[in-house]
């Protein structure tokens, strides 16, 4: 095949676009305090933030799995207007500015919030500015990635497998656990990894709804932002860690993650 030549102008613009991605990465790697990296990594502020980030993002992913798979199952079954409404609701957090998400969470679960006031009056529970709030903020922002991936998997699933299982005498739960979920494993896996990556990087909703309390709500992205003023080396080291994790996810999932969306 012989295609039309690409004009120089397009090549230049594309190169500029690529530079916009490349230069910041280069900056991060070139300016990284390689000789101090280990010291920074073992710094209590860093390890605490890292530990908290891992805990919160994994918990958020676990919650997303428990709530998101059933949600995807309902979505995959619905049609027409109801489906559009449900879909818009579940995908909204993907396009919503995270800060707005944080504000919305505060208005719902804050001490004077819609549900939060009831929780506070009835049980004395306060959610905002706790680790639970950080987990909730991350779940809010990240769960749509899982729901979308699993719903796509369900829609492309050959339902005759489930029918074959039923004709062999398997009831609903056996079909679900022995046939449907195992067959959905690739979709669930890629959805969960995307969800976890998004939760790990969450900043806006978390700092709005959960605040910045070291050891309680200060996750790595928040620690990076704050350390940039006081201890730039620590900020760069933490950024590098997040970069390595993201790159590892990209390499590990290769074509699959975009295919699943």
């Amino acid at each position: 095949m012989r295609r039309a030549r690409i004009p120089t102008a397009i090549g230049v613009l594309a190169g500029l676009g690529l530079l916009l991605f490349l230069l910041p990465l280069a900056g991060l790697i070139v300016r990284a305090p390689w000789n101090q990296a280990l010291v920074e990594l073992t710094d209590p502020t860093t390890t605490t933030a890292l530990g908290l980030s891992i805990f919160c993002s994994l918990t958020a992913t676990a919650i997303a799995l428990v709530l998101g798979i059933p949600l995807a199952m309902i979505l995959a079954r619905t049609r027409g207007t109801l489906r559009n409404v449900l879909r818009a609701l579940t995908t909204l957090p993907m396009v919503l500015p995270p800060v707005v998400g944080g504000v919305a969470l505060l208005l719902a679960f804050g001490r004077r919030g819609l549900v939060g006031s009831l929780l506070y009056q009835a049980l004395g529970i306060q959610i905002p500015f706790t680790t639970a709030a950080a987990v909730m903020a991350e779940t809010f922002v990240a769960m749509p990635f899982l729901v979308i991936a699993v719903e796509a998997g369900l829609r492309s699933l050959d339902h005759r497998y489930e029918e074959a299982a039923r004709s062999l005498g398997a009831g609903y739960w056996r079909v679900l656990t022995r046939v449907t979920l195992p067959l959905l494993r690739p979709a669930i896996f890629s959805g969960a990894v995307l969800c976890w990556a998004r939760a790990l990087g969450e900043f806006g909703a978390t700092i709005t709804f959960a605040g910045n309390f070291p050891g309680r709500t200060q996750t790595v992205p928040i620690a990076v932002y704050l350390a940039l003023e006081t201890k730039p080396e620590a900020a760069i080291t933490l950024s590098l860690i997040l970069l390595v994790v993201s790159a590892a996810i990209l390499v590990g999932m290769r074509g699959r993650w975009l295919g699943a969306l």
């Binding site: 050959d158 005759r160 497998y161 029918e163 074959a164 299982a165 039923r166 004709s167 062999l168 005498g169 398997a170 009831g171 056996r174 022995r178 046939v179 195992p182 067959l183 494993r185």
Partner: protein
């Protein structure tokens, strides 16, 4: 043990309406062209399709929409074999066969499944995954998976049609043997006459959602009641209104037949009984029509010639006869059929 079913399924302008009975030890083949509703019928019997009507198996009412009764698919004891095996891709062959046994809560399901595989000569493939099997092996495992649960009703959806011709005969032999050994009710749907003739004790011909004919394979092919059956029996079929010694056909044509009787009838003319001439034949045979050659079909040393005319017919001539006549597509030709060669039966 018998199956009695009256199934009605309506879907986007398509209407399936079938009454079907099948006794234990009998293989009933539902034969019909693609789109006739065969698979829908099978799925309705399995409890996988919304339907109206009634399905009774071995005295147990599986479905009676008039009374709001419905037994879900998983409690019907109906084994289903799909066109393309549909083995669970994430389970080994032995786990596939054991799946139904485990669902029934049977102990030692794995050992029982292995027994089935050993007996079928597939024991060495027990730990393989379905994607490692050949097409024929996969379809045989699918059959074992359905049989292992000891269903009362075995439903087969074109079990051979996705297989290569080279292995079809082998799988058909095994299928014949298995069906003979299976004591429940067997219903097979297919669009392949050969598959139906080889496996069925009784044929039910389904076209556009309704039964057009049923009976033993011989009964059905000797008295076709539809173009589909006539084609598979390789004969000409016309329908008309009989009046004594002739049959009035569509478009003012008339067909002379001995003892045609009275009323609406079918008439069958074997292609060998259709004689072809380039010029109008002498004498006064009663069935003479002029037409144009439409197409040829070689069958061994004989040629089937499709002729377009007032009564469109297929004639069978030898290759030699073909050369003598000098026939080519579009050529004009005279067709002659003796009245005694027309067999007539009521519509």
């Amino acid at each position: 043990m018998t199956l009695e079913a009256a199934v009605r399924v309506r879907r986007n302008g398509f209407m399936l309406e079938v009454t079907l009975t099948a006794a234990a030890g009998e293989t009933v083949a539902v034969l019909g062209p693609n789109g006739a509703g065969k698979t829908t019928l099978l799925r309705a019997l399995a409890g996988l399709e919304d339907m109206e009507g009634r399905v009774v198996l071995d005295g147990e009412v599986l479905e009676d929409t008039a009374q709001g009764l419905f037994v879900p698919a998983e409690r019907r004891h109906a084994g289903l074999v799909f066109q393309d095996h549909v083995l669970f891709p994430h389970l080994s062959v032995v786990d596939n066969v054991a799946f139904g046994l485990r669902a029934q809560g049977r102990t030692q399901a794995g050992a029982v499944a292995r027994g089935w595989l050993d007996e079928a000569g597939l024991g060495d493939r027990a730990d393989a995954l379905p994607r490692e099997l050949s097409g024929g092996q996969a379809q045989r495992v699918a059959l074992l998976r359905a049989l292992a649960t000891e269903p009362k009703l075995l439903l087969l959806d074109e079990p051979l049609s996705s297989l290569d011709v080279s292995i079809r005969a082998e799988v058909r032999r095994e299928l014949t043997r298995r069906l003979a050994a299976f004591s429940g009710v067997r219903v097979l749907v297919t669009h392949d006459p050969l598959e139906a003739m080889a496996l069925a004790d009784r044929l039910v011909v389904l076209e556009q959602g309704s039964v057009v004919q049923s009976g033993t394979p011989d009964e059905v092919t000797s008295r076709p009641r539809s173009r589909f059956v006539a084609d598979l029996a390789g004969v000409n079929l016309v329908r008309g209104h009989a009046r004594g010694d002739h049959i009035g056909l569509a478009g003012d044509a008339s067909l002379a037949a001995a003892d045609a009787g009275e009323g609406d009838v079918y008439a069958v003319i074997h292609p060998r009984a259709v004689a072809l001439y380039r010029s109008r034949p002498d004498g006064s045979p009663r069935n003479v029509w002029h037409g144009q050659v439409e197409s040829f079909d070689l069958q061994g040393d004989r040629v089937r010639v499709r002729v377009k005319g007032p009564v469109p017919l297929v004639a069978e001539v030898t290759r030699g006869g073909m050369r003598e006549l000098g026939l080519s597509a579009g050529a004009g030709v005279w067709m002659v059929v003796k009245a005694t060669e027309v067999s007539v039966y009521p519509a």
